[in-house]
């Protein structure tokens, strides 16, 4: 008899996600992914000046803010007929590249690492390293004070968890170092973005921040520090875990899914866009021995609402999508729509990008026996962080050259005014994967707006044909020997770096005691 368990909410992710799985003989045999927060901010944009869109959409989410801003600006570029000068693109690339540098290590250390280590092993550290002893004192102190957030909640360690006190304590030390690096990295994007979160400089036609030599130098200095951490700490940690204690999980391919992947392609390395950091392409039914990548045809994208809490509608292209909630719909179980490409569910994100790019390091891991799944996702994320660091250096050099050219431009000012009519699509590859924004302009105002975000692809429910979404499929076969301890379920889900935040930030205590602090 299959036993149904629910993980609600999945913790240490950004946003609200509920996962239900059916377990039989110690393995997941069926799964449902449910986004329990209503989205649909697009409705707010209707009737507004299209130029406002990139600012409004950056408020969709406090985590992935600028990624919406740039996807929106690109949709507007297309609708307005604006051509962003190379100088503008370089600055867009640099501020968006910085996002990878602070997002990916944060995901590995702060959001995921606790799934793979037995944190309590710290108490058994017998070494003499002063710094590590300070870490031990800190953690043991927190445990004694019963104040273990953010190290909890978590499941019981299983056989894949690292229990060696020396490894665990250095991992926790890196957890703390990564937080400090994160703080420093945040200032990179702000050099031209003006601030983080919510950059201010990305607009239709380019950017508003005219660069100077000092800024380039500052960015470079910060980048040097991040590069050191990424190369000397982050990547070695991922390698040590992935090829060490987690190798059995990697070989089992836990968290595989449909083996369909997509990257829109992004981050030009030259003005013509001949070379990209992340090439675009679609893989349907991965054959690791002979990877076949087709070009992306965005006309093949549809969204199904069959299992979403939306008014019934046929699967339609995002240009024609609508946002009408219907909460009493039979069989519906999520606020997430089901995007499909040519009817197929796809995975987006670092693993998809690295497979589409046929990245040699990833292919090498696969050749050695790692099946694309949860562990491979962490590896792909680390690999592309390094690619992004290298690309940032290239862009800084290019920017320095570009700035000395006569007539250096960062914005296409000819196309600042909204057209009477137009439509456009904007694509971006943010840390979490393929993001698309679609806009229709009529009478100089926004007539329709739709965003298909990465977690919509990954967290998608079933579609008209009953085909599971990628999280759902990725869970099938995951070992859950003890239904009370579904640690592999959360490992699989967190490996995607879910972000369903796009919403509320209220202080909402689970107690009415807060009322004693009312002052008026």
């Amino acid at each position: 008899m299959a036993k149904k368990i629910t993980v609600d909410p999945v913790t240490r992710i950004e946003g609200h996600l509920k996962i239900e799985v059916e377990i039989e003989n110690g393995k997941v045999i069926n799964a449902w992914s449910s986004g329990t927060m209503a989205r649909g901010f697009e409705a707010l944009l209707l009737g507004k000046d299209p130029r406002d869109a990139s600012y409004v959409v950056s408020r969709f989410c406090g985590v992935c803010y600028s990624v919406h801003q740039i996807a929106s600006a690109r949709a507007l570029d297309a609708a307005f007929g604006a051509k962003v000068p190379w100088g503008g693109n370089l600055i867009r690339n640099l501020v968006m590249g910085a996002e990878f540098i602070y997002d990916h290590p944060l995901h590995f250390y702060q959001l995921s690492a606790l799934d793979y280590i037995d944190i309590m092993a710290i108490a058994n550290y017998k070494g003499k390293d002063k710094e590590l002893l300070a870490v031990k004192d800190k953690i043991v102190g927190l445990v004694k004070a019963n104040d273990t957030y953010p190290l909890t909640p978590r499941y019981e360690p299983d056989e894949f968890c690292v229990k060696d006190p020396d490894i665990v304590i250095s991992a926790v030390k890196h957890y703390l170092d990564a937080l400090k690096m994160h703080l420093a990295a945040r200032n990179m994007g702000a050099i031209w973005g003006g601030r983080t979160p919510h950059y201010q400089n990305i607009v239709v036609g380019g950017v508003t921040s005219y660069p100077d030599v000092n800024q380039v130098a500052r960015f470079r200095t910060m980048l040097d520090k991040q590069k050191k951490f990424i190369e000397e700490v982050y990547i070695p940690d991922v390698v040590a875990f992935g090829t060490g204690p987690l190798w059995p999980l990697a070989k089992l391919g836990v968290g595989g899914g449909h083996y369909n992947y997509m990257s829109y392609g992004d981050f030009q390395l030259d003005p013509e866009g001949k070379k990209l950091v992340f090439p675009g392409g679609v893989i349907v039914g991965l054959n690791p021995a002979n990877i076949k990548v087709d070009p992306v045809d965005t006309k093949k994208i549809t969204e199904s609402v069959k299992y979403g809490w939306y008014k019934e509608n046929k699967p339609v292209h995002p240009f024609d999508g609508e946002q009408v909630f219907k909460l009493d719909k039979k069989d519906a179980y999520t606020f997430v729509k089901a995007p499909r490409y040519d009817g197929k569910p796809l995975e987006v994100g670092p693993l998809a990008r690295m497979l589409v790019a046929k990245n040699p390091t990833v292919l090498d891991l696969v050749a050695k026996g790692a099946k694309p799944g949860a562990v491979a996702r962490h590896a792909a994320r680390a690999i592309e962080t390094k690619l992004m660091v290298d690309a940032c250096y290239t862009w800084l050099d290019q920017l320095m050259t570009e700035m000395t050219k006569p007539g250096f431009k960062i914005h296409d000012t000819e196309h600042w005014n909204p057209p009477d009519k137009g439509e456009g699509a904007g694509f971006h590859e943010p840390p979490r994967g393929a993001l698309g924004h679609w806009i229709k302009v009529k009478d100089k105002k926004i007539a329709n707006y739709q965003a298909v975000v990465p977690s919509t692809w990954n967290a998608s429910p079933r579609c008209e044909n009953g085909i599971r979404g990628q999280y759902e499929e990725a869970l099938i076969g995951a070992p859950v020997p003890d239904p009370k301890n579904p640690i592999n379920v959360v490992r699989v889900i967190r490996s995607f770096d879910p972000c369903l935040a796009c919403a509320v930030h209220i202080i909402d205590p689970q107690t009415n005691e807060i009322r004693k602090f009312i002052i008026e």
């Binding site: 209220i506 009312i518 002052i519």
Partner: protein
Amino acid sequence: MKKATKSSVVRTKGGAKSSPQKIIILGVGNVLLSDEGVGVHVANELMKMEFPPNVSVLEGGTDGFRLLNVITEAERLIVIDAVRGGAQPGSIYRFDINDVRNCPSGFKTSVHQIGILEVIDLSGLIGKTPYTTVIGVEPKSLKMGMELSPEIKAKIPRVIKLVFDELKMSSKIKRTIKLL
């Protein structure tokens, strides 16, 4: 970034005690969900006003983790946010983080969301936690929309006054820096 340098002076042990305490006023919330964004609206108003150089006004949107750089820079933090305590809409709350830590039934807001209080906790893990006060407003509506409800909008001047009261008090309060 000039300000960052100043605060790092303050942070050094010993010396520097004479430099004024670094105070950050941080408005948070989602401006797309009507009254959820009250903290941001208040911050935007405050930004139009004059403050001494040791005081910064910031608007953090709905960021969680990523506000750490701001929080760790502050010695005194005044957070303005919507607080859902089930009271009359427009009610104003004021509490120090240390007050709510002691709530017996646990104040931790929500485990699945990395909210402002959780981030303040995290700041303690890598250094110091600023002495933090939250000024909260009970929202009326959390519906999608970029405007505040009229009742909540009417409270903005009052919240601003309370922020100024905190600033006045701050100059008298002994620095409480929690070192872990």
